[in-house]
């Protein structure tokens, strides 16, 4: 069985992210994780870990204080 492409896509605008980790905490499917690298401001930004699990529920965009997360739908 071939793997189907993810139906939803989460894009974190990483240079604007402050690494508070709220999106990581409140994501029920563990789609996001903390990055190993730092961004220009010196924060460990959030980045997608397992996009196949995303249901497009938008909770990450709801809790993000900086409005840096974009969710795309098929």
């Amino acid at each position: 069985m071939t793997k189907t492409a993810a139906k939803h896509k989460v894009v974190v605008r990483e240079e604007l992210c402050k690494g508070c980790g709220l999106c990581i905490e409140f994501c029920a499917r563990n789609v996001l994780k903390e990055s190993e690298h730092l961004n220009k401001s010196g924060y460990h930004y959030a980045e997608p870990a397992d996009m196949d699990q995303c249901t497009g529920c938008m909770t990450c965009t709801l809790v993000c204080p900086e409005v840096v997360i974009e969710v795309y739908d098929e």
């Binding site: 924060y43 809790v63 409005v67 739908d73």
Partner: protein, 250 residues
């Protein structure tokens, strides 16, 4: 792929706010911009900003903003609303601003029943100046001016200003909500929309108290500060609608 979330029309894009990571202000700013867009008020909205962390909110809001002297937000909003009743006027104030230096202005504008909306961000400390004790600081809470915890015998008890003004006949709608979870954020948006609609309908004064996390001054991680709001802060400041006289006035 289609973008699901649209950027709030009245929130400036690609601006990094000066708020600390995990601060509740960013979330409430976005909610205010979203509600103004949904109620189609952005073109005639005037926000009165406080002294405090939100002093620079005019850098992020894409509508008209007046900067007030410390605590005088509701007095300025009164003047604006009385001289231009066609405008939509609301204040955005913190606990050090609204419930400490601005107590007189807050109480008297509420007692007059001015047709304005007040958004009251309660984070239990003076955030901008470095986390000193505010009137709303909880008992036994450690701040820079109460290093052993707030002692009620010496420092008094937390001030419940929203309960105080909710008793006044002029206050039409008062509610306390919390930024502590996705559910809390959705409830906050509903409460702010109800307060704004109260003014649009010309019913009178409304105040929404938002319990908001301040991870830096509470010396907690953003996730822990969200938990602290829901587990500790809501025991002192219970959530819910404190008064709703909309049906009586309407």
């Amino acid at each position: 792929m289609k973008l699901k979330n649209t950027w709030p029309k009245y929130y400036k894009r690609d601006v990094v706010t000066h708020y600390c990571p995990g601060c509740g202000h960013g979330i409430v700013h976005r909610i205010v911009a979203e509600v103004l867009e949904e109620l189609d008020l952005g073109g005639r909205a005037i926000c009165v900003n406080p002294a405090g962390c939100a002093v620079l909110a005019y850098l992020y809001f894409d509508f008209d903003v007046i900067e007030s002297a410390h605590g005088r937000g509701t007095a300025i909003a009164t003047g604006v609303k009385r001289s231009r009743p066609d405008l939509f006027v609301f204040t955005y104030q913190g606990d050090g601003d609204l419930s400490a230096i601005g107590t007189a202005e807050t109480i008297h504008s509420a007692n007059r029943g001015e047709n304005i909306a007040v958004i009251f961000i309660n984070n239990a400390v003076y955030g901008m100046t470095g986390g000193q004790m505010a009137p709303t600081t909880l008992i036994d809470m450690k701040t820079t001016t109460t290093p052993a915890g707030r002692d009620p015998k010496y420092d008094g008890y937390p001030l419940h200003i929203t309960e105080v003004v909710a008793q006044f006949p002029g206050v039409v709608y008062a509610e306390r909500v919390a930024i502590d979870s996705p559910t809390g954020i959705r409830k906050t948006k509903k409460a702010i929309a109800a307060a704004f609609q109260t003014q649009v309908d010309g019913l009178g004064y409304s105040i929404i108290e938002v319990l908001s996390p301040c991870p830096t001054n509470w010396k907690q991680s953003p996730v822990d500060s969200f938990k602290w709001v829901s587990e500790v802060m809501t025991t002192e400041f219970p959530l819910g609608v404190l008064t709703d006289k909309r049906s009586r006035k309407g």
